[in-house]
Symmetry: C2
Subunit: 197 residues, 2 copies
């Protein structure tokens, strides 16, 4: 796999510095996932008239913080003014909400569209911009995903981005309930807006 | 079907007045459902060391307000200090939360355990007393229910009341997501407490 190149990094880092930093934060499988999400985000951006390079960058960094140690997350949540309720959750939730904070700190990215897309990519939200929707959906349908229903998710998302968001939220909720996993309330609120008919 | 008799009505009404008033508010099928919920609540109370007569009464009145016209609900929500967000929902939600208000007004029942059980019976809640759990579960497993899984719901509930609450919340959520129906946030919060493992 060729490393991606970003024309603009929205940060003081060069493209190769940004890629090297991301690589240093995760194992090879996750890095490959990030590259695939980046490419899928580009495709979705093209289909939806959004800045392709910017979407590709957001897709690339979306999981930047996924493998940061739990202890570091807890420290940051406690010391940086995050909602203390986050301490009742786990890295599946943190790597979006708190992940955007790490991206700002480590990569120097301050663009609000990129940071918000990362913030919202694991939970969804009641309000989601086009960029938010692109990253949220790209993460779900990138070519490495193999869950039952992924082909329908792809078809739905490529035909209509907002419908893809709804599909993802409904199926994620169903998956979590089937596992009897705790569901983040913001995800339910997002489901009520994007998926409920 | 013989009309039920309540030793104590927790109201100025006699048992026969209360039964007559309830009958006047609903069709025969719903009345029969209320009698079955009353009997199931009695059984669950017995199994859980709760006042059987009181549980039977709460089970009987739980759907008292289910067939009150939508317009009357809207008027009461607006004029009686209910959360205006309730206007975004429907009688499936209202007949518990606002239903308890109608029971107080029409039947003169002021006992907080009965009113709270009615309030919570359609949505569940993070905190649920034994009485709340009894009415919530009795409504779900009464002998007239025929949905797929009802036998497992009964077995689970008779073995352990709290597990019955969890079963009901998980399966109700799955059912609503499958239908792409809006989910009341309090139900999600209840699921996270009672069903998530």
């Amino acid at each position: 796999m060729t490393d991606p190149v970003f024309k603009e990094t929205y940060s003081p880092l060069s493209s190769s510095e940004l890629v090297a930093k991301e690589k240093s934060m995760m194992d090879e499988n996750r890095f490959a996932h990030c590259v695939r999400v980046s490419e899928t985000a580009r495709t979705l951006a093209k289909l939806n008239g959004y800045d392709e390079d910017k979407a590709a960058l957001a897709g690339f960094v979306h999981d930047y913080a996924k493998q940061i140690p739990v202890e570091e997350y807890i420290k940051v949540i406690k010391e940086e003014g995050f909602d203390p309720d986050l301490l009742n959750w786990n890295r599946a939730i943190w790597h979006g909400i708190v992940g955007s904070w790490f991206i700002k700190r480590d990569l120097g990215i301050t663009d609000p569209e990129i940071l918000t897309a990362v913030y919202r990519h694991t939970t969804g939200d009641v309000e989601m911009t086009t960029m938010d929707q692109i990253v949220f959906v790209a993460d779900y349908i990138e070519p490495g995903r193999t869950f039952a229903g992924v082909e329908e998710a792809r078809k739905t998302s490529y035909a209509d981005l907002a419908s893809g968001v709804g599909y993802e939220l409904a199926h994620t909720l169903a998956f979590l309930v089937q596992k009897r996993s705790k569901i983040y309330p913001r995800t339910l609120a997002a489901y009520n807006v994007w998926a409920a008919e």
